[in-house]
Amino acid sequence: MKRREFIELSANSLGGLLIYSLSGVPEVVQAQQGKVKVPLRFFTEAEAKVVVAACERIFPADETGPGATQAGVMIYIDRQLAGPYGSDKHRYTQGPFVESVPGHGYQGKETPREVYRAGIQKLGADFATAEGAKQDERLKAIERSYFFQQLRQHTIEGMFCDPMHGGNANLIGWQWLGYPGPQMGFREQIGKYNGVAYRVKPQSLEQILGYPIKPWEDEEAG
């Protein structure tokens, strides 16, 4: 049996409450300190570190607010790859596999898991510890690859997904955007906020429904 892999993250690098000062600069307030040990479902620890670093270059923390590491994007991707999506369970996988025009979408034989394994290897074992400029250079070199396009897309997904999927920790992405979460209705507000922002404290689907629900990756084996 495969050895269970973990990644250790500092608790104050994950999630948190976004506070805006009067000047409009956001600050992340953390209740937690110390380390959190996150079990990995698909990545090895070394792979996870490369993904954390790459996602942070794609969606960096900056003066406007949090980035991919803070949102737990790698955890999101790890779970997606471990689930039915990662194994291409619902993709049409009958051959022959023939590359075609972009209109046909991805026609390759490799599953998302295989695409990631190969892509991470290409970024290099030292990617996680390389200088930011060097990391950007390597990402730039593979910018047109299917792996990079997936990585970029999954980074956005992990930033703004419902937290049940492992990303958007403490709704940090939704806090940053001012998105209220999947509220069951806006009948009172509809037509009344004309060019004016309606912003409330965001809530996750579980908080709104009042009971936990299982995401696909937890419910169906990959």
Binding site: T64, F160, W176, Q189
Partner: protein, 586 residues
């Protein structure tokens, strides 16, 4: 193969059209009706609440038909090799389970223009056949506005469509679509409120001399009880509409409006997880269907009449697999089965404003439209080779609103679509953009067609359907014409930037295959040019009825209301005429 007890009518597919046929037959006659659905049962309203998750529902498409079973292959021309659809694209996917695609539609519900049903006659009279795009196969439906209008009304009343009449019995009414065909009744429900950007659109359109109106939507604007006695509540504007199920039942679905009535009848049975592979026939009559369940067990369901109401292109595929009718051949132009597949010509743009728009509120069909380009494009269009258009409409609700909306920024604003600059631009424009769309008439052509793929098969070993379709210059001209008009309106609205998205200039890319497709088993006035007669009864097999979008001889915009109206007309013909005297009705 297990042979089941014979039934009077078997209906294949539980989407809008199959459910209309089944409910009408089961509630108005004593005939036994079995409906076969390849997916599962209706999941219930609470399930739709749990599915308000962008990742699972919208991005991974958990409720869609799994592409793993085999959907179709596509190619741009008969010179190309076809590749399979290996995963759903970003566009509407085909539904799976009770209700079919209707459980995740956007509920946009305009009627077609009256001349759409006689388009070939109309355009040839207007322009002369030689002026129209070469190799087009446009043809009349074999019915007129007068034939279909009462059924439009019936479909709207069943769904509870919200809107404002613009032409009531010939009297034009400002505030509705003054270009629409005369309707016999006002909409069953008033229109939805107009959101902020659509209000700006409305004002700009008026200044330019156009005629804005609220887009008809079959999501209820208020609580409503249908003539069938089904009560549903008004829309909550949750912003998870198109491509989601409605957790309050405000968005019309046959699961709410028709299925409960059918299920209350002893002579109706819904059988789920039943994947139909063939229509069985003997001596020119359908004798039933064969299907397979999830465990692989095969069944023969004998039936007195068969109604095909599968996903649009699967109707054609089932006829091909069952060897019913003559396959269309693009070289000789002979044959009717697989002829006239179409999509809809798109013109669209994203516009950017300097104010927050709360794009997470609203419902799918909530838009403000103009009908000024909804039919003929007039002398100005014809001079450019652009003949027919579609409604132009403006909306802001993102559906879904977060992940998939993020990163919508003016073209060229940043050099790289990742990193800090891109992140800042995405934040700056977050919740500050809206969309114009126009889905327009799409001509059928001699070289676009459907047949069976020689290479790829489905899970059960049956050949996949092969779709051969590409845009031509005629669509590019039409799309460019409408896009230009859209850009002018967006500018008049004060848009800070505009990303226009006309039909792409490049050739050689296959068209999208989804639930906005049309044709393949088209209706018409003659068996020489169509598969089904104007009642959607098969020309060669009178106890076989083929309903749904497969019947439309050319592409039009949002087709649901029209195919629902056509299904009501078929149901009446079946019950009131065919049952009294079984045989061809035309």
């Amino acid at each position: 193969m297990q042979t089941l007890a014979p039934v009077d009518v078997v209906v294949v597919g539980s989407g809008w059209t199959g459910m209309i046929m089944a409910k009408e037959i089961a509630s108005r006659t004593p005939l036994s009706v079995v409906m076969l659905e390849q997916g599962g049962p209706f999941r219930g309203l609470a399930a739709y609440g749990k599915e308000m998750d962008e990742v699972d529902t919208f991005i991974r498409k958990r409720q869609a038909q799994s592409p793993s079973v085999g959907l179709a292959t596509t190619r741009a021309s008969s010179r190309d090799r076809a590749n399979p659809v290996r995963q759903w694209g970003a566009f509407p996917w085909v539904g799976y389970g009770a209700g079919g695609s209707s459980d995740h539609w956007g509920a946009t519900s305009p009627r077609f223009m009256p001349e759409a049903f006689e388009i070939a006659t109309h355009l040839k009279r207007l322009h002369g056949a030689d002026k129209l795009p070469s190799n087009n196969l446009i043809q009349d439906y074999g019915i007129t506005w007068k034939d279909i209008e009462p059924y439009y009304t019936r479909a709207e009343e069943m769904m509870g469509t919200s809107g404002k009449a613009g032409n009531l019995n010939g009297k034009k009414i400002e505030g509705g679509n003054v270009f629409e065909g005369p309707r016999s009744k006002e909409f069953p429900n008033p229109p939805h409120p107009q959101l902020y950007a659509p209000q700006l659109f409305s004002k700009a359109a008026k200044e330019l001399g156009y005629h804005p109106f609220p887009m008809p939507s079959s999501t209820l604007s208020q609580n409503y009880t249908s003539p069938d006695g089904v009560t549903r509540v008004g829309c909550q504007y949750c912003g998870h509409c198109s491509l989601f199920g409605c957790m309050v039942g405000a968005k019309a679905s046959p699961n709410f409006t028709l299925l409960p009535i059918a299920l209350s009848k002893k002579n109706f049975t819904l059988r789920t997880h039943a994947h139909v592979r063939r229509v069985e026939h003997k001596g020119g009559k359908a004798v039933g269907v064969t299907y397979v369940d999830d465990s692989g067990t095969q069944y023969l369901q004998p039936a007195g009449a068969v109604v095909l109401a599968a996903w649009v292109f699967n109707n054609a595929r089932l006829l091909m697999l069952s060897k019913i009718g003559q396959q269309y051949d693009p070289a000789s132009g002979k044959g009717t089965l697989g002829k006239n597949p179409t999509y809809a010509v798109h013109s669209g743009l994203d516009f950017f404003l300097d104010k927050p728009l709360n794009i997470f509120m609203g419902s799918g069909g909530m838009a403000t439209a103009i009908g000024d380009f909804g039919g003929d494009l007039g002398a100005e269009g014809a001079a450019e080779g652009a003949f027919r258009g579609g409604l132009v409409f403006c909306y802001t609700q993102g559906s879904p609103p977060v992940i998939s909306a993020f990163g919508t920024i003016p073209d060229g604003e940043v050099k790289q679509n990742w990193g800090s600059q891109w992140k800042k631009a995405s934040l700056k424009w977050n919740d500050r953009f809206g969309t114009f769309l126009s889905t327009q008439n799409h001509f059928p052509y001699r070289h676009n067609y459907l047949d069976l793929d020689p290479t790829y098969t489905d899970k059960w070993g049956d050949p996949l359907l092969r779709v051969t379709m590409d845009w031509t210059d005629a669509e590019r001209k039409q799309s460019a014409f409408v896009t230009r008009k859209q850009v002018a309106i967006a500018k008049a609205m004060g848009a800070l930037a505009i990303n226009a998205k006309p039909v792409p200039a490049a050739t050689g890319s296959p068209l999208m295959v989804d639930n906005h497709s049309h044709g393949g088993a088209i209706m018409g006035a003659s068996p020489q040019t169509s598969v089904v007669n104007p009642y959607l009864q098969h020309w060669q097999m009178s106890n076989l009825w083929v309903v749904g979008g497969s019947a439309l001889p050319q592409g039009e915009e949002h087709l649901t209301l029209t195919v629902a109206a056509l299904a009501y007309r078929s149901a009446d013909a079946f019950i009131d005429r065919y049952l009294k005297r079984p045989g061809p009705l035309a």
